[in-house]
């Protein structure tokens, strides 16, 4: 059973308890949402990296040196 810590700020008492069924369901939903978001961000990063590589290759084909390309992308 997953645990959650509850801090009662009015007393300063911290207790640990088992999560309720509702909290477990919410936890599963959070996991799914976080995984979906992470996949989207990683896909966006891969796409951005691919675009950058493609643009760099095209600039290189035009005759720009690596230093010149780096200067353009800073």
């Amino acid at each position: 059973m997953s645990k959650v810590i509850e801090v009662d700020c009015s007393t300063g008492i911290s207790t640990e308890r088992d999560m309720t069924e509702a909290e477990l369901a919410a936890q599963a939903a959070m996991q799914a949402q976080a995984e979906k978001q992470r996949e989207e961000e990683e896909e966006a990063q891969v796409a951005a990296d691919a675009l950058k590589a493609s643009a760099t290759a095209k600039l290189s084909a035009l005759g720009l040196t690596a230093d010149e390309i780096a200067a353009l992308t800073k």
């Binding site: 997953s2 645990k3 959650v4 810590i5 509850e6 801090v7 009662d8 700020c9 009015s10 007393t11 300063g12 911290s14 640990e16 999560m19 919410a26 936890q27 599963a28 939903a29 959070m30 996991q31 949402q33 976080a34 978001q37 992470r38 989207e40 961000e41 990683e42 966006a44 990063q45 951005a48 990296d49």
Partner: protein, 167 residues
């Protein structure tokens, strides 16, 4: 002008970890709140999210983030409060550093917040985020739940809640 920052409580996660740290019955006597988190999760991925809810309510959040991954910069819109947490594949014994500032948490207006966070990793992949957010709710905030977005928060992670009083 006097400004005082007072720690309300620091929770250190013990052996075996936990899924979340919930602050209940938050005093309504401060002007602002700040949550400072040092967190590592057991999730096996490049990074994980720290997730925060106000008043046990997962709805009506809107946020805009500027993020860096170590090799790329990207933005995103979101419907929850979050920042990066170190996950299990990162360098051992490293924890993320996150701060969430909530001004005027007792007001009858919608609640704005700013969240900034970084993960730590002795590698190229290291994640940073800066988030501006809004909770579209007029209730005073009396509860804050901090989690690893469903993943186990490992031992020695800490969550501290501060109250800030503006004179």
């Amino acid at each position: 002008m006097t400004i005082a920052m007072q720690p309300i409580y620091t929770q250190t996660v013990g052996a075996g970890g936990t899924t979340g740290v919930n602050f209940l019955n938050i005093p309504q006597t401060f002007t602002d709140l700040q949550i400072v988190v040092s967190m590592r999760t057991a999730f096996a991925a490049n990074y994980q999210y720290i997730q925060v809810f106000f008043n046990n309510n997962g709805s009506n959040y809107s946020a805009t983030s500027l993020n860096g991954s170590g090799t790329a910069v990207f933005t995103n819109r979101n419907t929850q409060i979050e920042a990066g947490a170190v996950s299990a594949t990162a360098t051992s014994n490293t924890f993320s550093s996150v701060s969430i500032y909530i001004p005027n948490y007792t007001s009858a207006n919608f609640k704005s917040y700013i969240a900034d966070g970084v993960t730590e990793n002795n590698a190229t992949a290291g994640y940073q985020s800066l988030t501006a957010g809004l909770w579209r709710d007029t209730s005073a905030i009396n509860r804050i739940d901090v989690s690893g977005a469903g993943q186990t928060i490992v031992q020695n992670s800490t969550v501290t809640l501060y109250g800030i009083t503006k004179g």
